[in-house]
């Protein structure tokens, strides 16, 4: 049987709750993400258009807000360390639902030691996926670049590997305070913050040129190390970084 579900946290936690209760075997899961994934293995993650036609063994699971909320409260109460890992594992967009469901069972059972044992395949699968997402969030806290639009909104565009645009919102909310801003995940056509408006190209930004001047002036020419730079800042990010995007 194939269970399809929507790419939102409420559906996700509803799915986990359902799977844990039903204890059914031989189920596979498919999250219906309408955007094409930019990861290295597109054939694995696929581009899943919402398809109204279902095969005989496919069903759709709809979000159950009460169940999702109850599950999250139970996790918060019994295994507080696990809630973020589960959420991040979901944002990774990896097809690891079976491991996630099993991990959730372990966390709720009170077997805290096992839930931290990375030699366990289930635990390692979930924690590795979660860690990847956590790293990506931390990286983009540094790598997002904002520019002021004509209407005075500070806007950043990026193409993350994982679905992290909403996870980044609180960090920038703290940063911007009352200043209006938005973050656009252009690969997934999603936007966190101020709604997108139809407006012309942004005005020329003198601060952007000053930033390039600073960036070029601050490096130590006797210690050039392009290899290390690429390790920290892979070329696929350069498109949206004004300091290097003419070299991208």
């Amino acid at each position: 049987m194939v269970i399809r579900y929507s790419p939102d946290p409420e559906s996700y936690f509803s799915l986990i709750d359902f799977a844990m209760r039903s204890n059914a075997r031989d189920i596979s899961y498919r999250c219906e993400r309408p955007w094409a994934s930019r990861t290295a293995q597109p054939e694995l993650f696929g581009c899943m258009e919402p398809n109204p036609l279902y095969a005989a063994d496919e069903v759709r699971l709809y979000a159950s807000p009460d169940r999702a909320l109850e599950l999250r409260s139970d996790l918060a109460r019994l295994a507080p360390f696990s809630e973020q890992d589960l959420l991040f594992a979901f944002l990774s967009e990896l097809p690891i639902e079976p491991a996630i469901i099993e991990y959730s069972r372990i966390a709720l059972s009170g077997d805290i030691e096992r839930a931290h044992d990375e030699t366990d395949d289930i635990v390692r699968t979930v924690l590795t996926a979660a860690r990847r997402v956590s790293k990506e969030i931390h990286a983009f806290q540094g790598l997002l670049r904002f520019a002021e639009t004509r209407s005075g909104v500070f806007e950043a565009i990026f193409e993350p590997d994982a679905d992290v645009v909403f996870a980044l919102f609180p960090f920038f909310k703290a940063r911007f305070g009352s200043t209006r801003f938005r973050i656009i995940d252009i690969a997934r056509s999603r936007c966190a913050g101020e709604p997108v408006e139809q407006e012309g190209p942004p005005p020329p930004d003198e601060w952007k040129s000053l930033w390039k001047v600073f960036y070029d002036s601050t490096e130590n020419p006797s210690r050039l190390n392009p290899k290390v730079r690429l390790q920290h800042m892979p070329r696929r990010y350069w498109k949206y970084l004004p300091e290097v995007n003419d070299e991208a």
Partner: protein
């Protein structure tokens, strides 16, 4: 006018680039209705061509300087264009860059263009402008200008997250040789003053705690490596004292870069690996529970270039190994080459519920290529690791010292100026 600002920025950013004492750092400052906030850990925004992280707008207020320190690009006898920002220009740059997420905050140093109090007052004015007028709550790191008064330092500590004063050299004699106008004991005196201020602020007082923070990210400093014949052991001993006696948060080690010819200075830079070894030793002191006597017990004046200090210790202490991973304490596991803090933590978590096997180690982030010689896993040694003690050194070396970069001398002592005495007492303080 924007054009002028651009040229100033190019000049004053280049002039500041040799100060390494400015890594992305954490602090505790809440937003409380202002612009921005700080985080417990630092954020890297970009990386420059030298492979270093850019996290702060690192600039000089002015590159005009009365001093003539031999190693400095901004020394008064160098024929370079001199200019200065205004506090408003710096505040504008900081806030605009911050909103665009280019930076986490400001790192502001200066040449000593006038009396230290006057110079420091400009830096403090810039920080105050940012905090008060622009309500900037991001990170601010100011240099503590040596020789400035306590009142100004206290005010600086109110606005800044971190203050640093670079000691640059590990003893008075070296400082006298290369930077005779600087006073090492006055630099240490100001570090002590700030340490006392931080301590006073942290100690719960009888009355209500003052609302303003006092230097929440503490102090740091920088030591230049390879400009004199000073040994790694004197550098590390001083760094250790800074950590233990003055509670400094970080010490930075910056390989000397030949900028202007001077007979007092070596003509070439030290091997980059020497700087790397100092950082490795520094990490052992701060995160791995090593004592200074562990690092320096070999009585060599310099750290080994071929093997890292952790491996060096392990080779000197064969009686400590092998360590049984299933039940050894965390502190013992930290001594094993090839196992870092993260690997050790994961190991300790995993073994609570599993019986460890050699196959598990790779998934836990542990390199058998190094750790394999020093461990047993439930009584079993990893296979293929019967190496004699004398061979360990060559097996675990990082490669020859000649590949540490272009035209570097083989040993760090090669380029010590010949008239330097071999031992100098370091700065003494309590």
């Amino acid at each position: 006018m924007p054009m002028e600002l651009q040229d100033k920025l190019a000049l004053l950013a280049s002039a500041a680039r040799y100060d390494a004492s400015c890594a992305s750092s954490g602090s505790k400052r809440s937003s409380a209705g202002g612009l921005g906030a700080t985080l417990p850990a630092g954020v890297c925004h970009s990386w420059t061509g030298d492979g270093r992280c850019v996290s702060l707008l690192k600039i000089l207020y002015s590159n005009a300087c009365r001093l003539d320190c031999a190693y400095c690009a901004n020394r008064s006898s160098n024929d370079v264009q001199r200019t200065s920002f205004s506090p408003e220009e710096i505040a504008g740059l900081t806030v605009s860059f911050y909103k665009r997420n280019y930076i986490e905050g400001l790192f502001l140093s200066s040449g000593i263009f006038a009396d230290p109090d006057i110079v420091m007052a400009r830096l403090v004015e810039t920080a105050r402008l940012l905090r008060r007028d622009h309500r900037f709550q991001g990170y601010i790191h100011l240099k503590a200008i040596p020789g400035c008064g306590e009142r100004l330092m206290r005010e600086a500590a109110r606005w800044a997250d971190r203050l640093s004063a670079n000691i640059e050299l590990p003893n008075a004699a070296s400082l006298k040789e290369l930077a005779p106008q600087k006073d090492g004991s006055s630099i240490i005196g100001s570090m002590r003053f700030l340490r006392d201020g931080i301590l006073e602020h942290e100690t719960p007082p009888r009355s209500a705690k003052p609302a303003q923070p006092f230097l929440p990210a503490g102090q740091s400093t920088q030591l230049i490596v390879g400009a004199t014949g000073d040994s790694d052991s004197s550098i590390l001993r001083l760094a250790h004292s800074f950590y233990t006696k003055l509670s400094l948060k970080r010490v930075y080690y910056s390989a000397y870069v030949p900028i202007s010819p001077d007979s007092r200075l070596p003509g070439s830079a030290p091997p980059l690996r020497r700087e790397h070894r100092l950082y490795q030793a520094d990490w052992l002191l701060r995160f791995y529970g090593f004592g200074i006597e562990d690092i320096l017990e070999s009585k060599e004046s310099h750290l080994d270039l071929d093997i890292d200090p952790k491996v060096a210790w392990a080779i000197r202490h064969p009686e400590f190994f092998p360590v049984e991973l299933q039940n050894a304490e965390y502190e013992r596991i930290l001594r094993i080459p090839g196992i870092g803090v993260v690997g050790a933590r994961r190991l300790v978590s995993a073994r609570r519920s599993s019986r460890l096997r050699v196959e598990h180690l790779k998934t836990l982030g542990i390199s058998l290529k190094r750790a394999g010689y020093f461990i047993t896993v439930n009584g079993r040694r990893p296979s293929d690791v019967r190496v004699r003690q004398d061979d360990l050194r060559s097996v675990l070396s990082d490669g020859s010292s000649t590949d540490a970069g272009p035209s570097f001398p083989r040993s760090p002592t090669d380029q010590a100026p010949s008239r330097k005495p071999s031992f100098q007492p370091e700065f003494i303080f309590d």
